[in-house]
């Protein structure tokens, strides 16, 4: 396994070349990936709002945003500027503190979860051993923010929306975690890097989607429900409860909710790519092609190509999933709240338990194909 490009090591080395100590050089490095990631995630979320408009327009045989920039690409920027300059409205008898904290409680955990999303062998902010478990744990904070928003707004629709959102994300977190657990069982590790490397050997044939088809479907359904995407967007079902917990929010606080929901969608799609679609690996392994041409894997230019291809692959897979999610949103009707909870507790939960059991059994039977003993 070739290590690929290690930006941190080269950056630290370069700074040491300028006469800095190793500690100081690392201190300069630390904030860089974080700032880069926050910026990149914001852009990715904005891109998906643009995609949402364009694909919904295509689904309804409209054109969609057209005049703001090429193909309406500046619409997200216009959105941001508009929301930044809007007036902050605080409805009467709200709880000002909780009203202000709630959007942050929803927004911060989502951005924090990007810590563990890998774009390459060393293209990750931190490769910690608990990896995906950190994502599951951190994303369980968001329901508190939703309940807080619902309570603080002093509006019965908000409260109903907040309660629905919390109930929904608690219900769907369990099948989600169980299907992640099945993948972890095969990779013998929670680290996202190890999970991707477990799928790296045979190109597209080695991806987890072939070994975990049931888990993949369960994960995607549960992820859609966690993101409150349309078949499951009960918390903000506009015909019933106006806009759910967001009803009373405006300006920047609304933007936090809005950006948070799209960032969460991108995060879920990226996690699908990591867990089931081979992460940054190409369908045909680059190493194989390089060997065919006769180029060593350690060549500098090849490593640059591999790294950029990894990022492109990761984003391509993620946006493929986002495309499916958006298409689902504009073609599928909304489920009722009892159907939603039935699906979660009576169908997905047992099926995901069976999937876990099946994976464990297959791992014992065919250790070669399913992870094998540690």
């Amino acid at each position: 396994m070739n290590p690929g490009i290690d930006l941190q090591a080269s950056f630290v080395q370069a700074l040491e070349g300028f006469g800095l100590t190793a500690g100081a050089a690392k201190t300069v490095w630390i904030p860089l990936p974080m700032v880069l990631m926050v910026g990149a995630v914001t852009v990715l979320a904005l891109v998906s709002t643009w995609l949402e408009r364009k694909i919904s327009a295509a689904a309804q045989q409209r054109i969609g945003p057209e005049y703001a920039g090429p193909a309406g690409m500046l619409i997200p920027a216009a959105d941001v500027i508009k929301l930044l300059f809007k007036e902050e409205i605080l409805p009467a008898k709200t709880d000002p503190w909780l009203f202000a904290i709630a959007p942050m409680l929803v927004f911060i955990p989502i951005f924090l979860s990007y810590l563990i999303v890998p774009f390459g062998q060393n293209m990750i902010i931190t490769d910690i051993s608990i990896g995906v478990f950190l994502w599951i744990a951190i994303s369980s904070i968001a329901p508190i923010g939703l309940l807080m928003a619902g309570y603080a707004s002093n509006n019965k629709y908000s409260l109903l929306g907040g309660l629905r959102a919390a109930a929904q994300s608690i219900s769907y977190e369990i099948p989600l975690s169980l299907s992640v657990l099945a993948v972890v069982l095969m990779s013998n590790s929670l680290s996202t890097i190890d999970i991707v490397q477990g799928q790296a050997d045979y190109g597209i044939l080695g991806w987890n989607i072939w070994r975990q088809p049931i888990g993949f479907v369960i994960f995607w359904i549960a992820a859609l429900a966690e993101c409150e995407r349309l078949p499951f967007d009960l918390p903000e079902a506009e015909e019933e409860i106006v806009a759910g917990y967001q009803t009373e929010y405006s300006a920047v606080k609304f933007m936090l909710f809005y950006a948070g929901s799209y960032a969460n969608l991108v995060l879920s799609a990226l996690m699908v790519a990591v867990l089931y679609l081979g992460g940054w690996e190409s369908p045909i392994p680059v190493g194989l092609l390089a060997n065919l041409i006769g180029v060593s894997e350690d060549t500098a230019w090849l490593q640059v190509i591999t790294a950029s291809l990894g990022i492109v692959m990761m984003l391509f897979k993620a946006y493929l999933m986002i495309f499916i999610a958006i298409l689902l949103r504009w073609t599928v009707p909304r489920v009722r709240i009892d159907q939603l909870l039935d699906l979660g507790w009576k169908f997905l939960l047992p099926v995901s338990l069976v999937n876990l059991l099946l994976t464990a059994g297959l791992k014992l039977l065919f250790p070669v194909a399913f992870g094998g003993p540690v």
Binding site: S129, F133, Y151, L190
Partner: protein
Amino acid sequence: MNLADGVQIVSFALLAAMMLGTALGVVLLDNIVYSAFLLAGVFISISGLYILLNAGFVAAAQILIYVGAVNVLILFGIMLVNKRQDFVPVEKAWIGKAATALVCLGLFGLLGTMVVATPWTLSSAPIAGDDALVVIGKHFFSDFLLPFELVSVLLLMALIGAIVIARREYLPEEADQNPQLTVPERPRELTTGGNR
């Protein structure tokens, strides 16, 4: 002192202050909803302390279970039980509060002396760090097997009990009171606690 130590000390001070502040808020504030939200702050700062102690898995589990499950359930309980009741001011309520404060301070003093007086023996084993997950798993299935299985049986009992209470398919006192005028189906009102 290098950078890592400084960061550690500063974050310990911040986490400790946050934990004490939120915990006092849970106890002292009158609004029960604030108390419930601040409880999440207590749990999050505890998990931060776990991270400082190199126990990443325990920290994540703390957030998942206490913040994500227990605290959300508490909030659900508070928000669904919407009982508006005016408190009747009690004469000389300060006596009760003073007694509570006295008992709490006494307990605090007792525990504090215990912590200071006990000669703690520090383990010399190397910190598990990233392997903690594997070590915990091995303990669960060797020397801690019995407690682990007992806890799982306890949780199963709670689960089944909750389902039995929630389903209420057969209510003995109602079986003979209401003649069957509807189609044989479980009436909806029972689940919401209507006119029973």
